[in-house]
């Protein structure tokens, strides 16, 4: 695709995104996303789950633009709470390190400004990557048949399990629980009922919103109530504009972060969480001020914020060109696409060019809103922390109920949400992350459809998984990954036992001669 055509496509996208209606939706998404994202325990995944029902009554283009705004707003909100109060969410752990150190040094405003500007730079670089790469990748997607899709989904499960939970065993098990929950309802081919236990409201399957709100909204509320955390609201001063030498330090780091984030955002299992750690590590190696990183350096905020934003943008590429979400947030986005009647995949750019290019353009507009609206008014947004949590959580609970009810105007869906709230809490207490479950739930029906098709085409033989080149590469990577996990587990175990054996005689000697 030549450059002029892409620029024309982007201009076409701006034409759609720059209508007053879409601008308002984008701004509302950014602000509401940030306000909810600021709340303790509510990262982008929980924020999107909570606010997804808000978009149901909107036209598809507007709904997607608003959701994208909510996502970026929530990410910046996470950064703000990390920098000002050291409240970490999954997507802002790294911001807690140098960002909070800058707050302790009285440079909160500079840290917030750096995070905002770096997000803008990261977002801009990622949009260029997205505009060039997504159409190319959707041509590659045409090489994918049912066997390749199955292999890609399995590869995605393994990557997400490892990245989100750290334990591939726990994460994979949660993915499979999600896939099984996705089986509840009507069979895709025969239309027969499966696992509905004769409950009429389950005949259309379990609602994604019920699972997402239960596992993230309700479980998080309960965890926060259990923790009885008393947080004092931020009360320091905020001076936003940095000095020129400080300003000059932002750019190299933000550019490095943008490149790292844009690359890692495309990888299966990648996304903002892993990108910010990688960008931080790169800055620690390459920055001119690497000795200051960890003690409140601007680079420690700029690099990770740019990577965070860039990865959030480029993770849309596999979703929109292959139709496969590569992390749980993208899985929720995919659900939002489908609810709005759009099937993400290779045909999306050709069938809905207005939506695709409109969304790409609105990402950049969202960045501008973040910079113009959220950064200067951060002092006002922080006042949300002045509301006591005991007054706030009944309101979150109310939105969970109304959000669930408003999908089908069905009270019975609230029982499902309550059930998943309890399950979500049990999972949380067992340290089982529900993010892979959401991915499994959304990809489960797609995996089943492609698996059944692959089996029919190949007459029940699994050989196609190793004879087709793309799937052979993906399957061997999964196999190698398992081998590596197994080997490292046993090596670690052996090391621990050797250490324990070495310590045992010394302890026995101490026990024999206590006087010494």
């Amino acid at each position: 695709m030549d450059h002029i055509q892409i620029i024309n496509n982007l201009l076409f996208g701006f034409e759609h995104a720059l209508t007053m209606h879409n601008l308002l939706l984008c701004a509302t998404g950014c602000v509401v996303g940030m306000l909810v994202g600021l709340l303790p325990g509510l990262g982008p995944l929980a924020t999107i789950s909570l606010l997804l029902p808000l978009t149901f009554s909107l036209p598809p283009g507007g709904a997607l633009i608003m959701l994208a705004g909510i996502y970026y707003g929530a990410q910046y909100g996470d950064n703000v709470s990390a920098i000002t109060m050291k409240i970490p969410h999954a997507s802002s752990i790294v911001a807690c390190i140098d960002g909070y150190q800058m707050t302790l040094k009285g440079k909160t405003g500079v840290a917030l400004f750096t995070a905002g500007v770096s997000s803008f730079i990261g977002g801009t670089v990622a949009i260029i990557v997205l505009a060039w790469l997504a159409p190319v990748l959707s041509e590659v997607a045409l090489l994918f048949g049912p066997v390749e899709y199955c292999a890609l989904v399995l590869f995605g499960f393994v990557c997400v399990s490892f990245v989100t939970t750290g334990s591939v065993l726990d994460g994979l098990a949660m993915c499979l629980v999600g896939v099984l929950l996705g089986q509840v309802g009507s069979d895709i081919e025969t239309g027969g009922q499966r696992f509905t236990m004769d409950i009429v409201s389950l005949s259309d399957g379990i609602q994604l919103v019920s699972i997402a709100l239960g596992c993230f909204g309700i479980a998080e509320i309960t965890k926060n109530l259990d923790n009885k955390e008393k947080r004092s609201p931020f009360s320091g001063t905020i001076k936003l504009i940095p000095t020129w030498p400080e300003f000059k330090r932002i750019f190299p780091s933000a550019l490095r972060g943008s490149i790292v984030g844009s690359t890692l955002g495309i990888m299966p299992g990648g996304g903002p969480v892993i990108a910010q750690f990688a960008a931080y590590a790169v800055d620690k190696k390459l920055s001119k001020f690497k000795d200051e990183i960890g003690q409140g350096a601007i680079e420690g905020v700029a690099g990770q914020a740019a990577a965070d934003e860039a990865a959030a943008r480029t993770s849309f590429i596999p979703l929109m060109s292959l139709g496969i979400p590569e992390n749980a947030v993208m899985a929720l986005m995919m659900a939002a696409f489908i609810i709005n009647g759009i099937q993400p995949g290779p045909q999306m750019i050709a069938k809905h060019p207005d939506l695709f290019w409109g969304l790409v353009a609105s990402m950049w507009i969202g960045n501008c809103f973040l910079l113009l609206l959220n950064v200067p008014l951060v002092r006002i947004w922080l006042s949300v922390f002045k509301i006591k949590y005991s007054s706030l959580f009944p309101a979150i609970l109310f939105f969970c109920c109304v959000g669930t009810y408003s999908i089908n105007n069905n009270i019975h869906d609230i029982y499902t949400t309550a059930t998943f709230g309890v399950f979500g809490y049990i999972f949380l207490r067992f340290k089982l992350d529900p993010a892979p479950l959401i991915l499994g739930f959304i990809l489960g029906p797609m995996l089943e459809e492609n698996f059944r098709r692959a089996m029919l085409i190949n007459r029940g033989s699994f050989a196609a998984f190793v004879t087709h080149p793309i799937s052979a590469v993906l399957v061997s990577m999964v196999a190698l990954f398992f081998l590596w996990q197994l080997t490292s587990f046993f090596l670690e175990l052996k090391k621990k036992r050797a250490q324990a054996a070495a310590q045992a005689p010394a302890q026995a000697q101490v026990a024999q001669n206590p006087a010494e």
């Binding site: 098990a173 259990d226 709230g421």
Partner: protein
């Protein structure tokens, strides 16, 4: 003390068994003509295998305590269920008030006066959502 590692293995085994025991009611078919039961049986068997591996792993690694607070999750789930039941049989406004009171009881500094204010604010919000956003809520 309940060992977290054993507990999660048992929980996941129970989930897989729930699906495995129901799957024979569906047509399983064969690999070259898969029926609606085949895929769930394969996935549930995979989950059962992982659960068994987790249980085996729990014997090799140090136990971790399982920390569970019944009161808060009971009250929050109770608040949701009462909201649904009262909305179904009385109306949603009454459901919101009851939900707010049950939920607020879970917080450390429960106060009847503050809860009444929260309930009133939530009722007003529900009115606004119905009136201005057109959300179909059976408020009264």
């Amino acid at each position: 003390m309940i060992n977290q590692n054993v507990g999660k293995g048992i929980l996941l085994a129970l989930v897989s068994l729930f699906f495995l025991l129901q799957a024979p009611q569906l047509t399983v078919g064969s690999l070259n003509r898969p029926g609606p039961g085949l895929f769930p049986v394969m996935v549930a068997s995979g989950l059962l295998f992982l659960a068994v591996v987790m249980l085996a792993r729990s014997r090799l690694i140090e136990p971790a305590p399982f920390d569970f607070h019944f009161k808060n999750i009971g009250l929050i789930a109770g608040a949701l269920l009462s909201f649904a039941l009262i909305s179904e049989f009385v109306n949603m406004l009454a459901g919101i008030v009851v939900m707010a009171f049950i939920a607020c009881y879970a917080s450390d500094d429960f106060s009847i006066r503050r809860t009444a204010v929260i309930a009133a604010a939530l009722c007003l919000m529900a009115f606004a959502m119905k009136r201005f956003l057109g959300v179909q809520l059976p408020l009264y």
